[in-house]
Symmetry: C2
Subunit: 361 residues, 2 copies
């Protein structure tokens, strides 16, 4: 005999059923969740049910977590609505810009999020339940964020196969300007340049081999999300574009002056960095358990996890053990041994005492 | 009984047995050729024999075609040597820049060439016999180029699976600056920018998802060939870099001013161009045969084929039928029906009369 609590599925709510929302729905349902959702475009919600990304269309007051997979500019309003109608659910989003959203929502039950996975496809028909497998999923807790809320989101997105990386929202925005937003604008600029050249000579696009195709692939994506992103993350994008233009201008002068050694230095540096780019597949490394006594107040877990994010420490597992007295707890984390020493040092500098124990691999 | 002429393999000579040279050797040997070759680095030639890219190391006075797969700056000297020691062989190269080479060699038996295929791997161990399958292979005949020499190179590289595109050497250089050289320098600049950001925050490179990885993949290639390319094609590269910087500066001002419509216009244009980028796999289309009476003198075939290149007309087959009188011939070409009308018009404007016959598909 199975008791009802053992068989009752966990329940999630999706707002927005495009590519990312649909992929979250598929991934959750593959793991036994019951997923309710809706989309501003009712046809998209219907399609989400058809492809298996939703159990049903609508809202679910019993959902323990709400994923907002709507354009960046619509997140604050959708978050407010979800937070006020669901009095205990945790709410998270998937927007590509975090600081303005986190600032606008400012609620302990809201955790900003951004899965670093996408596709040049669009819509729920491009959705896939393994989109997040091995991908980095950034969370941006603040001092206001409730610890239990953060840990719930962390556990759920980890269960979808993602590696969670906690970062301060402003830091996230500056970093994605460099690795995502400006590369996208650059791909578009290269493609437009080639298209102009193709008007002069029909042969141009036939000369576009693999390297050019790789570099411009993301320019095939739907432009609709970009005005929002560029508005919300304007300052960081402009700064990164300025640095890129500066860097290309320096390369131009190296080429114009025939400085062969200067050119080799730039290309060697780029090559070394590209070869060392961490691969999506995480290497199995020796792991250690870190136990950190912490005061039991909001903000502590956010402080520790964003510190881990800054140091690129991957936290494989995280739980908080509350003490009987109620005002202290122990944060237990599993991290790579190779990064644990730097992490311990940084925690120590902030007044935390850390016990480190190797785990059998 | 088989006569010796039926069984004697055709013979080719390779100078340089790196990735491209090795791939040519493999592809030729898969098609029954006897391939002799050498490399400045004797170990590389030994390795080329081991991987099956060469039958033997050395030079072959009986070779009918010589492929020079050496760095751009070494092509003219290697070409002179091959042309003077092999009194009837046709000589071609695979360099990424054409005008300086073609001008320096200036011999009817030399045909400049550039297969638009590569790999971020390097050396003969990355070589593959199907590297050129479906790839565009540019040839840059001039008025001095011997018709038979051009047709021999054309036939051989077509037999390796490549699509031949004839272009004036200067035009080739301007176009590859846009679709190959500047994209490469841009990938390197983006990667260096990210590496600098990673020094500030260890998290940065973990945020680099698929789009960034695609855009910087070519930056992992060996930098050794680039000083030559940037020296030989300096003017075209500087001009294309200037246009890219101008274009990025325009995007910057669109972002800085919050011009959402302006941003959408740029991205929509890029998207349309990227979606229409011809794919490497050629669609089977209706073909037509074009017959063009031509005076039997050097330069005619180069004029017609470079005109086809400019119009992005893919010539699937090409032969010249000499008339009995000796001073006239008929050029017979097979091209896509969709492009034949524009091609016929352009030929007509240059004084050629063209008969077009549909081919059964």
């Amino acid at each position: 005999m199975t008791s009802p609590t053992e068989t009752a599925p966990r329940r999630a709510q999706l707002v927005g059923t495009g590519l990312v929302g649909g992929s979250i729905g598929l991934a959750l349902r593959e793991r036994g969740w019951h997923v309710t959702g809706f989309d501003r475009d009712p046809d998209r919600a219907v399609r989400a049910v058809e492809v298996g990304a939703l159990d049903e269309i609508g809202t679910d007051d019993a959902a323990e977590i709400v994923f907002l997979a709507v354009p960046v500019s619509q997140v604050p309003e959708a978050a407010m609505k979800a937070l006020s109608s669901k009095l205990s659910a945790v709410v998270t989003d998937v927007g590509s810009v975090k600081a303005p959203i986190v600032e606008a929502v400012d609620n302990p039950r809201f955790v900003g999020g951004h899965p670093m996975a996408g596709s040049e496809q669009e819509g729920v028909d491009g959705a896939s339940g393994d989109l997040f497998d091995g991908a980095v999923w950034v969370l941006t807790p603040t001092e206001q964020t409730d610890t239990e809320a953060l840990m719930l989101v962390r556990d759920v997105v980890s269960s979808l196969g993602a590696q969670v990386l906690a970062l301060p929202p402003e830091r996230h925005d500056a970093l994605v300007a460099v690795v995502s937003h400006v590369p996208h604008l650059t791909a578009a600029s290269l493609m437009v340049l080639a298209a102009e050249g193709a008007e002069e000579s029909g042969a141009l696009l036939r000369l576009a081999a693999g390297g050019f195709r790789d570099m411009t692939r993301i320019a095939a994506g739907h432009p609709g999300i970009w005005p929002d992103i560029c508005t919300e993350n304007r300052d960081a994008i402009v700064e990164a574009l300025d640095r890129l233009v500066e860097s290309l201008t320096a390369v131009r002068s190296v080429v114009a002056s025939g400085d062969r050694d200067g050119l080799l230095r730039v290309l060697e540096r780029a090559r070394a960095a590209r070869v060392n780019l961490p691969s999506r597949a995480v290497q199995a490394e020796a792991l250690v358990e870190m136990r950190v006594p912490v005061p039991d107040r909001p903000g502590v877990i956010a402080e520790v996890t964003t510190l881990a994010g800054e140091l690129a420490v991957n936290i494989y597992d995280l739980e908080i053990a509350h003490s009987a007295e109620g005002d202290r707890g122990v944060l237990v984390m599993v991290v790579d041994e190779s990064t644990s020493e730097a992490f311990r040092g940084a925690l120590f500098a902030r007044g935390y005492r850390v016990a480190v124990t190797p785990l059998a691999s």
